[in-house]
């Protein structure tokens, strides 16, 4: 059993970490007082009078169902493969978690500061999730599968906005129009990712500095790095 001072120190840190921003100051102080009462009064009293050892308070670190936050990984230069995941796509991304780059317009529609709308749709269920499928390689996918160097959704949204801005200004862009689609191929003039998929693997995953952006009006359909 840990000594009372150790137990209290561990517990105080745990309570403060867990409740930060979620409980009022009064509730947090109440929790700490209850812990002090248990460790300094109840535990010794039970041992003295009844001869039983009450269990030590557990160390509280992070909730078991929530992984510890990690700092954003540095841009990768080696292929990240989605082959190990059953779906071949990254974990679900919620556009509501990106308030700095996307504004909620309701009914699942999120608008970027560059004026593009990410809506429901695609086999992933939302266009942002569809775009984020390009942050992992799919080595068995037929043809080219462009993979962004970053896997940070906010950074991907900003990159797409940057390409859209260039396309609207008619800079560094070739444009193709189909009945229901506008397809921009934009030269970002710096590496933004690499070519994966079967064809990319055959060529040794060459780097990509172009972004293909397929839109329908202002709705994003898909976007990914490519080599034209």
């Amino acid at each position: 059993m840990a000594n009372p001072q150790q137990q209290l120190a561990r517990l105080a840190v745990g309570i403060l970490t867990l409740t930060r921003g979620r409980l009022s100051l009064r509730a947090t102080i109440g929790l700490c007082l209850a812990a002090v009462l248990y460790v300094l009064v109840l535990q010794p009293l039970a041992k003295q009078t009844l001869g039983i050892s009450l269990p030590s308070l557990p160390a509280i670190d992070q909730p078991a169902d929530k992984p510890a936050p990690q700092s954003r990984p540095a841009p990768e230069r080696t292929p990240r493969s989605g082959a190990g995941s059953p779906t071949g796509v990254p974990a679900a991304v919620d556009p509501a978690d990106l308030p700095t780059v996307l504004t909620d317009r309701g009914r699942g529609v999120y608008e970027s500061s560059g004026g593009l709308r990410y809506t429901r749709g695609s086999q992933q269920g939302h266009r942002l999730a569809h775009v984020m499928a390009h942050t992992l390689d799919e080595p068995d996918r037929v043809g080219q599968h462009g993979v962004f160097d970053t896997n940070d959704p906010a950074e991907v949204v900003r990159l797409i906005d940057e390409a859209y801005g260039l396309a609207l200004a008619g800079k560094q862009t070739t444009t193709q129009r189909e009945e229901g689609r506008t397809i921009y191929t934009v030269n970002l003039r710096r590496r933004i990712g690499y070519i994966g998929g079967e064809s990319g693997a055959r060529k040794g995953h060459p780097s990509a500095q172009y972004l293909k952006l397929v839109i329908d009006g202002d709705r994003v359909i898909t976007a990914f790095p490519l080599r034209p």
Binding site: G121, D140, E178, R181
Partner: protein, 98 residues
């Protein structure tokens, strides 16, 4: 997923063969840019997905409504696709995440 080439619209997605869950037609579908055609002639008008992916035959959603990637048997039973049987490319399918 069985495919017959690369999409002429986005130049990246495979042209997969999808069987509609409602009209049971086998259609050509790019799962990258969500465009579908009734036949293997992409110069003919296609259907364009937005929130759903309408079947070019009956407009049912090709991502739900019981649609699946077509089997070789379904391809063999589709007259305009028979000529593609010897050259079909088979690759792992992305399954709809809804």
């Amino acid at each position: 997923m069985l495919s017959i080439g690369i999409c002429p619209v986005c130049a990246a997605g495979p042209l997969g063969l999808r069987q509609c869950g409602v009209c049971r037609r086998v259609v050509v579908l790019c799962d990258e840019c969500d465009v579908a055609w009734r036949t293997d002639d992409p110069t003919r008008p296609g259907s364009y997905g937005q929130e759903t992916m309408p079947c070019p035959g009956c407009s049912a959603d090709l991502w739900t409504a019981g649609a699946t990637w077509a089997t070789r048997e379904a391809v063999a039973a589709t007259p305009w696709l028979v000529k593609h049987l010897p050259t079909l490319v088979e690759s792992p399918a992305r399954e709809p995440q809804r």
